[in-house]
Every structure is written in C-alpha cells, then in structure tokens.
C-alpha cells in the first residue's frame, strides 16, 4: 500500500506521534495503514552479541523488560521517560525512530548506542546504522515503501550510562537532553533537541578519548550544533544546557 500511495500514505503503529500531528493538521495523509496489530513485530530477543527489538514493541514493554534492564539498561530507562504511562502503553520503538523528531528521547538513545535499524520494503531488507538513519527534521533514511521491522542495540551490561532529560512541565519533550553510554570501551554521547536530528556530541567524545575529564569534555557539548529557538529556550540557553547536562550525564555514568 505504501508503494501504491507514496507520500500520501502513512503507517500507523502506536499513533502517538502521527495522530497528534494529524489533529493539528501538520500531517494530512490521504491513507493511513494500521500496522498496530502485527504482533510478530513485537519482541525483545537476545541476539548473542546484540539485543533484537521488534519495531512494534511498545515503550512499556521496553521499560519493563528484564532482558533490557540487565543488558541495555539505558534503553529501558529512556523508554520510561517518553511521555506518560498512557502514551507508553501504545507508542512503539519503531514508530518513534521512524518519526525522527530531534526532540524525542529514543532516537538519541539508539544513536548513542550505535544501534542498527532494519528496514523492509518490496525490494528486500536492509540494515541502516543509527548514525545514518536520522536525515533531517522528521525525515529518515526510510524509502516511501519501507518500514522498520527490527532495531538492534549492543549489549552493555553494567557499563556506565545516564540520561539527562531537562524539561519544565510533566510529560513534555526535552528542552535539551543528553544520553551518555559506554560501549565497547568508548563513551558515546548524544544530544536531544540540539539540531534538526539527534546528534552525537563528537567533540565531547573526542575530548574524552584524548584523556579529558568529564568537566573539560562537557565544555565542547554544543560544538557543531545548531539548536532551535522556541518558546522554551533560545539557542544560547540550549547550548548552556547541553554543556551542563553533558557534564551531569558523564559524571553520573561514572566518567570523571
């Protein structure tokens, strides 16, 4: 159906990004394809050297998964920070990632983890690295006739991690957020709402790899970012928040 209708069609999974946009007339698809009951895309499996999560797995399932709490706790924690309990009963990981909102929590977490997103279309299946998936403001690398089927994240049991979500109101998106997680001996840091996509704080990562302390490295958090200006914050304030929250995230993740 996606192939038939092209950009006039939207997939409906949990609907907690799409329906609010439709209510505001920011999204006006002609056709909505309800995939919410494709149960065989809802799973959390041990893939040996990674964890495999079905794209239609709900945030609530991720939040409460014993496997994720043990082997990739940052993902379970970040899922618990999305919206509110009612939202988490419906929203899906694949939906959140495909929606590609730079202010969302889960895209930044998957980016920091260096996850892999599996997309399927009529032309077959392909794997997309998280670093190449989020291409712009509400834009992803998915073709019009593709959908996400699985997300793979590395196991990092017991490794340092932290997520800082700064907002002023309950249920709100982050004004700025920072995810820090140790993967494969390096400390990865990603930023929420500091640009048109979730961003890796590469200057921070390079500084840490070069032996800088958390405090020193955090000073570079806003390097290369273009934070938005809105009712919540000016770009200057967002840059300040990025530096402060990065330091807090690193220190809480055990990086000094």
């Amino acid at each position: 159906m996606l192939g038939e209708f092209g950009d006039e069609a939207k997939l409906l999974a949990g609907g907690h990004s799409l329906i609010p946009m439709m209510k505001l007339r920011l999204a006006v698809p002609t056709v909505v394809v309800d995939i919410g009951r494709v149960d065989d895309l809802s799973y959390i499996n041990d893939g040996g050297d990674h964890l495999a999560i079905g794209a239609l797995t709900k945030h609530r399932a991720i939040e409460t998964s014993d496997l994720l709490l043990a082997e990739c706790p940052i993902l379970a924690h970040v899922a618990s920070k999305v919206g509110d309990p009612q939202v988490r009963h419906r929203g899906t990981l694949g939906g959140s990632l495909a929606h590609s909102d730079p202010a969302s929590d889960l895209p930044a977490a998957v980016l920091a983890l260096g996850g892999t997103l599996v997309a399927q279309g009529p032309n077959g299946t392909r794997e997309i690295a998280a670093g190449e998936f989020f291409s712009g403001y509400f834009e992803s690398a998915l073709a019009e006739d593709e959908m996400l089927t699985e997300i793979r994240v590395p196991k990092a049991p017991g490794s340092g991690w932290n997520y800082q979500k700064f907002n002023r109101r309950a249920q709100d998106w982050a004004i700025v957020g920072v995810a820090a997680v140790q993967v494969g001996g390096a400390t990865n840091v990603s930023l929420v709402n500091m640009g048109s996509t979730p961003l890796r704080a590469s200057a921070v990562e390079a500084a840490l790899a070069g032996g800088a302390s958390a405090a020193e490295a955090a000073e570079a958090a806003a390097d290369g970012t273009e934070p938005p200006s809105d009712l919540n914050a000016s770009p200057d304030y967002r840059e300040h928040l990025a530096r402060v929250l990065t330091r807090r995230a690193l220190e809480a993740a055990g990086v000094s």
């Binding site: 009612q86 939202v87 419906r90």
Partner: protein, 155 residues
C-alpha cells in the same frame, strides 16, 4: 468503515468514518459521555479509558484501531448499580475531586497504575499519574485516594 468493539463487556458494531477518534466514538456514537475531552494535545488525560486492560488516551486512538479490542470506560468500572469500584469509593472518601472533569480519566489511570504497581510509593503515584492533569485539586487528595485504594496508610 465497519468496526466491532467490545465496550464494557458488550460488543458494539457500527459504521464510522475512518477518521473518528475513539473518544468521539465512545461519546457520540455510544452515548458513553463519562469519558471527557479536555485538550487537543494528548496532554490532559481526561479521555483515559482502558484498551485490553491498559490505560490509553482515547483521544489519541482511532476508533478503527479498537476494532476487535476490549475497551473499558468509567461507566464500566463499578461492579453493579449499587456498588462503586474501590478506586471510585476511595476518590469519594478522600475528596479526590472538585469539579470532577478530570476525574473519570484520573480514576481509569489510577486503576491501571495499581494493576501494574499494586503498592506504589507516593512518588510512584505522582509519576504514575503524569498523564493526567487536574486544575482544581493540586493533586494531594487524588494521590491520597490512590494510596488508600492500594491498601496503604494515608494521613
């Protein structure tokens, strides 16, 4: 489009416009006006119902998504005409409402909360009701009502 939804134990079959939100289906089509609409941004939670036993904001679901599913509204909570559900009774006893507009959604969210966390701390109740806004009460008595309904001591 034709949909068939089991609401408060009774299966309802209707022809609805595909764009119909679940909350409008419940209120306008089925006459179950206990579920309220308090915002247009999926924030307030006054529209909270249970879908397959879990709390959901019915304003952020299409009726078509509930096809073949089980929905419980506030009207379906009480075990009988003569008896209130323990959560409703607790809200009454602890004065967990003033105008009552947020109350159906609060009660439905609280029931779902206790099903997932039967003995929450006060902080867990406050966070667990993050999806429900109240302009009247300042939340204190709502939190007390939920803690009391969980069987825990309240001041």
């Amino acid at each position: 489009m034709d949909i068939s939804v089991t609401v408060n134990g009774t299966t309802q079959s209707n022809d609805v416009e595909p764009r119909t939100l679940l909350v409008y289906y419940l209120r306008d089509e089925l006459g179950l006006t206990g579920t309220n609409i308090g915002c247009d941004t999926s924030s307030c939670g006054a529209c909270t119902v249970h879908v397959n036993g879990e709390s959901v904001k019915s304003c952020t679901m299409l009726a078509a998504q509930a096809d073949g599913q089980q929905v419980t509204t506030i009207e379906g909570l009480a075990p009988s005409e003569e008896q209130l559900h323990p959560m409703q009774e607790s809200f009454r006893e602890h004065h967990g409402l003033q105008c009552g507009y947020c109350t159906p959604g609060m009660v439905m969210a609280a029931v779902s909360l206790l099903e997932e966390n039967p003995s929450p701390t006060e902080a867990e109740v406050r966070e667990g009701l993050e999806g429900n806004l109240c302009r009247c009460t300042g939340y204190h008595n709502i939190v007390k009502a939920v803690l009391a309904a969980s069987g825990q001591q309240v001041d």
